[in-house]
């Protein structure tokens, strides 16, 4: 049983698995994901029911805008994660910078989403047009509301971090990881929404 990977002389303590951020935040994230899951499940059901309506509706959307928004959100997640990592490596200022950049990405996302809405409203589509547009407008709006909440969380944590309002380093790290985890959740939901709404024919 002498596996070459294990060294008998390595006495460093085993790595213990740890959830990044607060457990309560993860409960919240799971609950949010449950809400989106129900929404997406209903959308899948409706899509199976009204295939042509969905195809016709998808053809009126703006996939380029969706793609740009996907890239923007991914960049936002990168900045947030980088902020957490660098601050853990002894660069406390990196967290505020990373979170601010991530929130800026969120702002870009919202601007593009709103202009998409403006184009669709201009073309005469709205929440009541048919079941497809209900799902499109409602689901993306509900998601955009989460982008806004995520931005607020990031900015609040960044500010409290910068002004030293956390009682100790452990609490500060926990808050940073919790905020970034929430932001990743928002990103993750979009990564599912984008192909379902814009790409899948």
């Amino acid at each position: 049983m002498n596996s070459p990977e294990y060294s008998l002389t390595d006495l460093s303590p085993p790595q213990t698995a740890r959830i990044p951020g607060d457990l309560a935040m993860w409960c919240f994230i799971l609950a949010e994901l449950l809400a989106f899951l129900l929404l997406l499940g209903s959308m899948a059901f409706a899509r199976g029911h009204w295939e042509q309506m969905f195809s016709a509706g998808i053809a009126t959307l703006h996939p380029e805008a969706g793609l740009i928004n996907t890239l923007i959100l991914l960049s936002g997640s990168y900045f947030a994660a980088r902020g957490v990592r660098l601050s853990a490596q002894g660069q406390p200022r990196a967290l505020g910078r990373g979170f601010s950049l991530a929130a800026l990405c969120g702002l870009g996302y919202v601007a593009i989403k709103l202009s998409e809405y403006a184009l669709l409203f201009g073309a005469g589509y709205n929440l009541r047009t048919d079941t497809f547009y209900f799902f499109y407008f409602f689901t993306t709006f509900f998601h955009m509301a989460h982008v806004l909440i995520g931005m607020v969380i990031l900015l609040v944590v960044a500010r409290r971090y910068r002004t030293g309002q956390y009682p100790n380093a452990d609490k500060a790290r926990m808050a940073g990881e919790s905020a970034a985890s929430y932001w990743h959740m928002v990103d993750l939901v979009w990564l599912v929404l984008f192909p379902l709404l814009y790409v899948l024919p």
Binding site: D22, A24, C27, F28, A31, E32, L34, A35, L38, L39, S42, A46, L127, R128, T131, F134, F135, F138
Partner: protein, 467 residues
């Protein structure tokens, strides 16, 4: 009692219990009228009895919430109440207005009451649960505004805690949504649409914040668990309550003329509504498991834990039973709704009211808790009330099922009429009345426990003065 001004809670609690008794008396009258249609007619017609039954519920819960707030805010803020005088004055104004309104319902024909109170100047009467004359509605708004001012001023001068913040947010929400009771558009669809902004956004929205805050306060006090842990649970519960509850309003917009997309929104978001109630059960049980002290007030703990379980059953499970649009298509407005309403209101709000009274009343009378004999009686009353309410719920569910089976599921040719269906339910109504009597006995036992407590006060531990 740590602060003298907490005593303002006393008359609120006592009056809440008095109104609760009135509510149950009218409940029994209604239960009888379901069987003997002209029982007490023409003195108390069914519609009047129903109005009194539901209005007394709302008002006694408001008194209990106010009492709870006057009790817990000074203790949380670690300061005396801003103005105890205002608290007492508002109590008398609210109590007198409440009694006059109920007497108005009972002594004057409703249309005449509308005339007498100048309803035509600002018509707001004649809508379910919002039957109060416009002057009473204005009175409630003013009382609540004065109450919130008193509480805000207290909170601002004292220690800021999450429990206080959640409670105050809930109370402000209560006041804001009450404003929609003054909006009474001509279109029946719009009327119902915004009517739910009071009714639903109260009981499935902001009241849940009040419930969560009171529950958290009782659990902090009785288990001694770290505030930080309790606060995280509270945040999680209220976030879920708001996420599911606000858009969950949609489950009331099925088939009333609102846009059809509400079928989706209502179904999806109200499917999540049981979650915050389930979290409350987990919260209470986990706090008990992690408790750092054995609080002598077992009765208060019984009410608090019982409240979470019954609320989960009544609001969560029984709500979910008929909340999905395809199901609600058949169950809309049947006795299933009444089943849900009874268990949800009792579990979530009546029980939290009795939990805080159970915790605070001995303290307001200089004792840590009631004597063991009084507590035993109280815990028995909790079981009797809970089980008989569960029986009422199961029986009304059965009655609802008969309605659905005979009236709703068959096609037009096979369905039988409303009154014929009522005849088919009659035996269930008899059993429901029996369960209602059992509930009244439970309430009697609860009130009797106060007497036992008074007679055995020497056997109860005195209040510990150290914080």
């Amino acid at each position: 009692m740590k602060y003298a001004s907490q005593a303002v809670a006393k008359p609120y609690f006592a009056f809440a219990m008095l109104l609760f008794v009135g509510q149950i008396v009218f409940g029994l009258i209604l239960g009888t009228q379901y069987i003997i249609g002209d029982f007490l007619f023409p003195e108390i017609p069914f519609n009047v009895a129903r109005m009194v039954h539901t209005n007394l519920l709302i008002v006694w819960l408001l008194f209990a919430f106010m009492g709870a707030t006057y009790y817990l805010v000074p203790e949380e803020s670690q300061t005396e109440l801003w103005s105890p005088k205002l608290g007492y004055a508002l109590f008398w104004i609210f109590a007198v207005a409440g009694v006059l309104t109920i007497l108005g319902y009972l002594l004057v024909p409703y249309a005449r009451l509308a005339e007498l109170t100048g309803n035509d100047l600002l018509p707001t009467m004649g809508r379910e649960f919002l039957e109060q004359p416009t002057v009473t509605k204005i009175g409630i708004a003013l009382v609540v505004a004065g109450f919130i001012l008193n509480i805000l001023m207290t909170v601002l001068k004292g220690r800021k805690t999450v429990v206080n913040m959640v409670l105050v947010t809930g109370l402000i929400g209560l006041a804001v949504f009450w404003m929609f009771s003054f909006y009474n558009p001509k279109s029946l669809v719009l009327d119902k649409y915004f009517w739910w902004w009071v009714v639903h956004l109260w009981v499935e929205g902001v009241w849940e914040l009040i419930l969560g805050a009171i529950l958290a306060f009782i659990l902090i006090k009785t288990t001694g668990v770290d505030r930080e842990v309790v606060e995280k649970w509270l945040y999680l519960i209220i976030a879920m309550a708001l996420i599911s509850g606000i858009l969950g309003t949609g489950h009331h917009y099925f088939f009333i003329g609102a846009p059809s997309y509400w079928l989706w929104i209502g179904s999806i978001f109200s499917a999540i509504e049981p979650l915050p109630f389930f979290l409350m059960v987990l919260f209470a049980l986990s706090m008990l498991r992690q408790r750092r002290r054995e609080h002598p007030n077992k009765a208060a703990v019984t009410w608090a834990v019982g409240c979470t379980i019954m609320a989960f059953l009544g609001a969560g499970v029984w709500g979910f039973l008929h909340t999905l649009a395809p199901v609600n298509y058949y169950t809309h407005g049947t006795q299933l709704t009444a089943a849900h309403g009874h268990l949800a209101f009792f579990g979530a709000y009546a029980m939290i009211g009795m939990a805080i009274i159970s915790y605070a009343w001995p303290k307001l009378h200089g004792r840590e808790c009631n004597s063991p004999q009084a507590q035993r009686m109280e815990i028995w009353s909790c079981w009797v009330m809970s089980l008989s309410m569960l029986a009422i719920t199961l029986l009304l569910t059965w009655a609802g099922w008969i309605q659905i089976e005979l009236q709703r599921l068959p096609g037009d040719a096979g369905a039988i009429g409303y009154m014929q269906t009522q005849d088919a339910i009659m035996h269930v109504y008899w059993m429901r009345l029996a369960a209602g009597v059992a509930f009244a006995v439970g309430l009697g036992m609860y009130l009797y426990s106060f007497l036992v407590a008074r007679n055995t006060r020497e056997e109860a531990p005195a209040l510990m003065t150290a914080a």
